[in-house]
């Protein structure tokens, strides 16, 4: 699948370290993500996966090291800064407002407006149509757009969250356990979503505890252990046991 990925890295980190007081959460992590590539981050609890993704997405500042995004050195002073540049995190709780429809969610904070006579009003119809287009790109189609997203299935809700990111031009998507808490058919749907992100040239960082999922969807697996990169394998050359050995350090 790596033929889909271009050679130009969309995101690179060099020597990223992070310390919390005396605790070394990350030590000199070098990492590369190409456009259209899916990289799985593997590692036990406390290996530093979440600290690392929080640094990329602007939640934490690194103690040392640099981040290069689309060829330029960047530093984000908050998650909002990373998001406006195109690095989006899909949170486990999905960050959807369950009571709003898909238009309200995709456009939350960036609503489209129109006018009725002289009064400004929210353009719900256009927001719905645009949102439907955004998730149609992921090959997800809903029969009714006016219902709150609470009424959607887990996979459809993922699609709304991902659709929102793509609609706002995300180049890097960080997905934290996107298949946790989903039934098997819905998990498959999410894996399909990730594959369709590849074809759109979006780089995906995929965090999962599920080795089968990692092997099914990613091009490369980066294993973190106690804050350092313990190993890195192309999916074609790796077997699950080897990844587990890297994770536990034997």
């Amino acid at each position: 699948m790596s033929d889909v990925a271009s050679d130009a890295p969309v995101l690179e980190t060099y020597g990223i370290s992070k310390r919390f007081g005396g605790v070394h959460a990350l030590e000199r992590v070098n990492f590369t993500l190409r456009a259209g590539e899916v990289v799985a981050l593997a590692g036990d609890n406390g290996a530093g996966k979440s600290t690392f993704t929080k640094i990329i997405s602007g939640v934490f500042q690194p103690s040392e090291g640099e981040i290069r995004y689309r060829g330029r050195r960047v530093s984000f002073d908050g998650p909002q800064a990373a998001r406006t540049q195109g690095i989006e995190t899909i949170y486990q709780d999905l960050a959807l407002a369950d009571n709003l429809d898909i238009g309200g969610n995709v456009f939350l904070g960036r609503e489209l407006k129109t006018k009725f006579l002289f009064l400004p009003r929210i353009d719900r119809r256009r927001m719905r149509e645009e949102a439907a287009k955004a998730i149609a790109v992921l090959d997800v189609h809903l029969d009714r757009l006016d219902r709150p997203v609470r009424a959607l299935s887990g996979g459809q809700r993922q699609a709304v969250a991902i659709g929102r990111a793509i609609h706002w031009d995300a180049r890097v998507l960080i997905m934290d356990e996107p298949t946790a808490a989903l039934g098997v058919p819905e998990q498959r749907k999410v894996m399909d979503l990730i594959r369709s992100l590849k074809t759109k040239g979006i780089g995906v960082i995929f965090i999962s505890h599920n080795l089968a999922d990692m092997f099914a969807v990613s091009d490369r697996i980066v294993v973190l252990r106690r804050g350092v990169v313990a190993g890195e394998r192309m999916v074609g050359d790796a077997d699950p046991e080897e990844i587990v050995r890297l994770m536990v350090g034997q």
């Binding site: 998650p79 909002q80 998001r83 949170y91 709780d93 999905l94 960050a95 959807l96 407002a97 369950d98 009571n99 709003l100 309200g104 939350l108 904070g109 960036r110 609503e111 407006k113 009725f116 009064l119 400004p120 009003r121 929210i122 189609h141 809903l142 029969d143 009714r144 219902r147 609470r150 009424a151």
Partner: protein, 341 residues
């Protein structure tokens, strides 16, 4: 593929869902039918088809509607405002006192305007403090506004020297008792406020963010919405509608009373809940609250009309609250919503 996902039970649930969301309307309808039959059988007279009764009920409903409007906004955002009753009382005594004092030297018209402006401005203070406590200092809304309930109550009584302030401004009493083309002025003013709040809630970014905050505050923050500002404005608006209510009360009874809104606090919350809002936030409509307030007004006025002991009002309103929440729960169990994990 979408059509394949709709099976028969889902459709059946859909119909039930529509029925349940219309429950407030159904309640109101049943109530009117019962009172009409009762009135015809017991007294041989109509209850519903009397202009006097309709006018009385609508005037009766104004106070809980206005208080309920602000409460609706706050409850949709996932909060609650327990201070509205005494914010209303504070506005009532300030409107009366200022209209009297300024009116004595500057004339009736100026006195009226001064009274209104002073009362509304005064309500913005407790509203703003509520908002700050809840949005900035993250005090739970129940506690923050309970504190303000006490503060506003004390302030209102202190301002009125512990009694009521009689009004000698005829324009102010006209606001409370006058009619334009047969329609009570209080009802006209309430309708204007209703339209404003409805527009705000259903068509503006402010309204959209109110729902979003109630649905998922964290998600709304992450989307870059200024949640603090919206929350502070919500509590200020809630105080403001209570202020309008207080002014109209003073006009209607020709006296500003610190306890004007005391019995109305629970009515305002009841109206919102009967109208279909969830106290967990995220849902509710202006129309629902109006129907909820009308139900309460019909019960209160209707039982007096039918010469029932007034204490039955409390029982009747209480039962309606319980039944409407039960219907809401069963709708959630049967309807498309997700279950608790």
């Amino acid at each position: 593929m979408a059509s394949a996902t709709i099976d028969k039970p889902a459709r059946w649930r859909g119909t039930l869902g529509v029925l349940a969301s219309a429950r407030a309307w159904i309640f109101l309808f049943v109530l009117l039918v019962v009172f009409e039959l009762w009135s015809q059988i017991a007294y041989g007279t109509t209850f519903v088809f009397s202009a006097f009764n309709l006018r009385s009920v609508s005037v009766f409903a104004v106070a809980p509607v206005l208080l309920g409007l602000g409460q609706t906004l706050v409850i949709i955002s996932g909060g609650i405002d327990l201070s509205v009753g005494f914010t209303m009382g504070l506005a009532a005594v300030i409107a009366a006192q200022v209209a009297n004092d300024v009116g004595a030297s500057a004339g009736v018209g100026v006195g009226l305007v001064a009274g209104i402006v002073a009362a509304l401005a005064a309500t913005l203070i407790p509203g703003w403090v509520n908002g700050l406590l809840i949005a900035r200092l993250r005090v739970p809304p129940f506690i923050g506004t309970l504190g303000m309930y006490g503060v506003a109550r004390g302030a209102a009584y202190l301002f009125a020297n512990g009694t009521t302030v009689p009004v000698n401004n005829p324009w102010l009493t006209f606001l409370g008792n006058g009619r334009i083309l047969g329609v009570p002025v209080v009802v006209i003013i309430a309708l204007i406020v209703v339209l404003l709040v409805h527009y705000l809630l259903s068509e503006t970014l402010f309204g959209q963010y109110t729902y979003a905050i109630g649905g998922n505050r964290q998600a709304t923050l992450r989307a870059g919405v200024n949640v603090r500002r919206v929350t502070i404005l919500l509590y200020m608006l809630s105080a403001l509608t209570a202020g309008v209510d207080g002014i109209l009360y003073t006009g209607r009874f020709a006296a500003g009373a610190p306890q004007a809104g005391e019995p109305l606090l629970l009515d305002s919350i009841a109206a919102v809940v009967i109208g279909g809002a969830s106290l967990f936030g995220g849902s509710g409509t202006v129309m629902g609250t109006i129907i909820g307030a009308l139900i309460i007004a019909v019960i209160q006025y209707g039982l007096v009309f039918l010469d029932v002991e007034p204490f039955w009002q409390f029982i009747a309103v209480g039962l309606v609250i319980i039944v409407s929440v039960l219907v809401d729960q069963s709708q959630k169990r049967l309807g498309g919503g997700r279950q608790d994990e």
